[in-house]
Symmetry: C2
Subunit: 211 residues, 2 copies
DNA sequence: ACCTGTGAAATCGTTCACAGCA
DNA sequence: TGCTGTGAACGATTTCACAGGT
């Protein structure tokens, strides 16, 4: 077991391993070795072992890993053993699409509130989720016990929204605005920048030789 | 000028530089040095120079880079000097949200068609974009001259949709389904996996000491 | 025999530091 | 003097290879 700092690449892979284990589990398998896991899902077996070894000795030499046990361990490491409550800021199309994004509920996340500054939208509902006035952000997130925020507003408002979010005490933010954000280092901001992804596809199409 | 293989990290940063240059340009600046660019946007100046040097010698010693010229060069490198036409597969909330996502139009991408397998949706419109039957994918993308596909269908259909897309000759795909996909290496698939991002936030909240 | 956990090696990416040009 | 372009140093990440446990 390593006690060094754990890289984000490692934790991202943990999510992937968890998915693989769910699939194997559904098939009724009881144990899996890093070698077979790697082969089946096109991963590297040494990397799987190293990643897992960061958090403990979960394997059994000569056997592999007990699937049910390992699932439970990874679920706990990723903090997926309890529900997270999510606020989405920006009740535009993207915010609304995310509100009933299946992937949220699938991994123990629940969208508890939408926020917008537009009078027209405040008070309306998306499915069962109410749209609140952004001005009341802090009050609502306390009442609703929210611990994760999603920023789905136009880029020019993102920094100011992030400051509202940070002031409320929320420590985990997912940002869809294609803009760099400044924030204190006790909070975690994960930016999903679709513009960069698109431009990267464009580069692939444009580059001289498709090697 | 390097002729080695260019990493995706480098091309992603090119997108960022382009954004920065647009901002500077809007302020009326004519030239910028890597040092001042780095300071202003919290980047590393050596990295900026290295990234740019992969594609040519765009700078002038003692002066820096001419902003208008550099913008043009990067735009060309990223293939953003001509429009890309996009098909979105899956006319659910996510597909619809992406259809009028501002970021697309902003960087020379245009959503030209939506596809779905649901009879109810086929023939309807989202804004000006028509929903076609997925069965007619190849015919429509040829007629509409589409070169980029976005997969916004549930995970269990993603692999089969990708195969339809690949067969049609499209080489650039953005995938929102949280599942690993198998594909030939002459096509580029960029997966935006919101589940992994969420779980990474969850890990941050769960881990023992928030260091 | 099979498999884990882990040092060591290899690869990849970033930052430093400076030669050389305007 | 100010700045680029780049080799060299450094740091991070991945992969190899094997000692040691079952």
């Amino acid at each position: 077991m390593k006690t060094e700092k754990i890289s984000e690449l490692t934790t991202n892979r943990l999510s992937i391993y968890l998915r693989c284990l769910n699939e194997l589990s559904a098939e009724g398998a009881k144990t899996i070795s890093s070698g077979r896991l790697a082969k089946r899902f096109h991963l590297n077996s040494a990397q799987i072992r190293k990643d897992l070894a960061c958090f403990g000795e979960f394997g059994v030499r000569g056997v592999g890993y007990y699937i049910a046990d390992l699932k439970e361990q990874i679920t706990k490491i990723l903090g997926l053993d309890h529900k997270h409550r999510v606020a989405i800021i920006g009740a535009g199309r993207l915010g609304m699409a995310l509100t009933d994004y299946y992937g949220f509920t699938q991994t123990n996340f629940e969208v508890a509130a939408l926020f917008d500054a537009d009078e027209e939208k405040i008070g309306s509902k998306v499915g069962k989720v109410k749209v609140f006035d952004l001005k009341n952000f802090e009050r609502v997130i306390r009442k609703e016990d929210i611990d994760v925020a999603v920023i789905a507003v136009p880029a020019q408002f993102a920094q100011s929204v992030l400051e509202t979010v940070a002031k409320s005490g929320i420590k985990a933010v997912m940002n869809f605005a294609p803009t760099p954000l400044r924030f204190a280092d006790d909070i975690k901001v994960k930016t999903i920048d679709l513009t960069i992804s698109l431009e990267s596809l464009s580069y692939f199409l444009a580059k001289p030789q498709n090697d």
